[in-house]
Symmetry: C2
């Protein structure tokens, strides 16, 4: 077992899981001092830093980390006119990092998130838990009352159909937050002192047909399985909303995962979310979204994808057409967003030509 | 606050929640010594004991409990020919207790289940947690990543539609088990030493459209909302299967709850399941069910109820017709079961005439 020996006195294995197959994507506008606390867990991995805001500002990254950093000038240079699909002055810009990654897996984290402790007081290796979640199957077709049946000490309970026990490949691992919960502006305003102190020791699959509010603060996914659907939309500068970037991605991702029989897990790992954002600023950003989501969610709940859509790209293009047709009636913003969804896929395929071959599945490309 | 004062040194309030609105239903074949451990929590409530097997056997109930006890002779006397729908020599007989209860709520528990301890070492008042679950709404239409949003210290997360935050009435509270998990015979055989030691501090709603394996060991429900669907089927003596009684009820209940926009919760409370049943005996009972469930579950996943079905009774009769038509092809057992489902509803309405009035909604009855 050379290479996987655990360093005495440390819970970090000497060869971390998926070291060469996972990128950590961090959107930021400031120096990345928060990485110091994550050093034991993140240092072995490659970081993709997406700098938002003023590109002339210099972002300091603590020494010893292996990273590439992209600012707005880089995004514009790399994508040309297609850069229009990447949000500016909003953490939605992180999805550019998903696009330029060359790895199978991505973990993305906000720079105000720190290492949390489990109830025994031990530091939680969030990344390791995400990797466990992604590498074990999901159970989207039937609910298991003892939660993740693939965890040690757990299994499928009586009455769980045996034909479903192989599970489905896991595309997404959605982690949670201790301390500051991910509340919307109205809830922040009503409950300014609420803190999440409940450590729920569970990972579970969100059942097929059920939507969920996906938060981008602590999120990992399999790029190969679902990457092209992880578009964080048009938010921030010049757009009528913010703080719906991850929600948008989550709705699209879940509909596509359901169609392609892929799994989405939520629960562990927790991280420590240090600081509540300003609820007044948030309300301004969320305001229109609060109304729109009342129509958007039924739209996604009823969205179906044609059988021919057998790749994430095809699914996403089909969704963009439905967005334009059905949500375009609510506000012209959704027409623009639908167009940006198409641009995103074009840009993705341009930067990931081998994906595109698989995706398009056309004879010529496949014959290469 | 007279009457709700807590006895010093005790965590049991002097007036327990729903004291006069809840019955505890216990199926048994032996003396109920297990009640000693539950005394602080159960003694204030009324018990309905359903004695299975030889009716001449005398079941001892510890002193101080308020109870009524029914044996097979009583069931035959009360239901006459309709007693055929109540299973014999199987804990499925417990559903007779649901039928004769006159209370709004029922909690049912197996007699090999004891008080569990939470991670802090405190005895868990399972009944109190079930009541909390039943008295607070469910969230079947959208998933909340921080679990039950109505619990103290929790709420709906960002992105949860505001129109859905009122929730749906909770019809069922499904509790879990520490120590011996509720495994089927094959899993028991493969993992004879597995014990459930993971205390997951969560209650969550099983989303609309998702089926789950409902276990009858630790279960509470609102009789008024869902009682007539809590039929535990034909099991045991003279029947080709056993150990699918609660599963059958769970599938029917979930389909009907989804149709009527009622909620089903699972998670807390835990109890301590003391003893694994014999896996060889279990395999004999489960054998046919293991095959049948592969067809039964898709059947229930695709079952739809007509809009006219606006009461549990009407829903249940419609389901019985679909069972006869579609599952009857698998085995004649399902034709018999479908008939028993109808008999069950007839017996329920006979013993619960005021329910029947509400249920039938006919002018004459309503005019009373």
């Amino acid at each position: 077992m050379a290479g996987t020996v655990t360093v005495p006195g440390s819970s970090v294995p000497s060869t971390p899981l998926l070291k060469d197959e996972l990128d950590i994507v961090i959107p930021t506008i400031r120096n990345l001092d928060f990485l110091e606390m994550w050093r034991p867990f993140f240092q072995p991995y490659h970081l993709i830093i997406v700098q938002d805001g003023d590109p002339s500002k210099v972002i300091k990254v603590p020494e010893g980390f292996d990273y590439e950093l992209y600012n707005r000038n880089d995004i514009n240079r790399i994508l040309g006119p297609k850069a229009s699909c990447i949000s500016f002055k909003d953490s939605a810009c992180r999805c550019f990092g998903y696009m330029v990654s060359k790895k199978k897996y991505v973990f993305t984290i906000d720079d105000d998130c720190f290492v949390a402790k489990d109830p025994s007081g031990k530091d939680i290796n969030a990344l390791e838990q995400h990797i466990k979640n992604l590498l074990s199957p999901s159970t989207p077709f039937f609910f298991n009352t003892l939660y993740d049946p693939y965890r040690e000490g757990a299994d499928f309970v009586r009455g769980y159909p045996f034909s479903l026990r192989e599970g489905a490949p896991t595309a997404v691992s959605h982690g949670l937050w201790l301390n500051i919960p991910d509340y919307d502006a109205p809830t922040q305003m009503v409950k300014p002192r609420e803190r999440n102190t409940r450590y729920v020791d569970a990972v579970l699959t969100i059942p097929k047909g059920t939507l969920f509010p996906m938060c981008g603060m602590n999120l990992a996914f399999d790029r190969q399985l679902i990457g092209p659907a992880m578009y964080f939309g048009l938010m921030g500068d010049g757009q009528p909303i913010g703080r719906y970037d991850d929600m948008w991605a989550g709705w699209c991702v879940k509909v596509i995962c359901d169609h392609l029989s892929l799994g989405v897990k939520t629960g562990l790992p927790y991280l420590w979310h240090s600081k509540a954002s300003n609820p007044f600023v948030n309300l301004k950003k969320e305001y229109k979204g609060i109304f729109w989501q009342e129509d958007i969610i039924p739209f996604f709940q009823n969205a179906t994808l044609p059988k021919e859509c057998d790749t994430v790209q095809k699914c996403y293009i089909s969704l963009s057409e439905q967005v334009k047709e059905k949500l375009g009636k609510i506000d012209p913003y959704f027409v623009k967003l639908a167009d940006a969804m198409v641009t995103w896929i074009e840009a993705w395929d341009e930067l990931n030509p081998s994906d595109a071959v698989v995706a398009s599945g056309n004879g010529k490309a496949a014959a290469k």
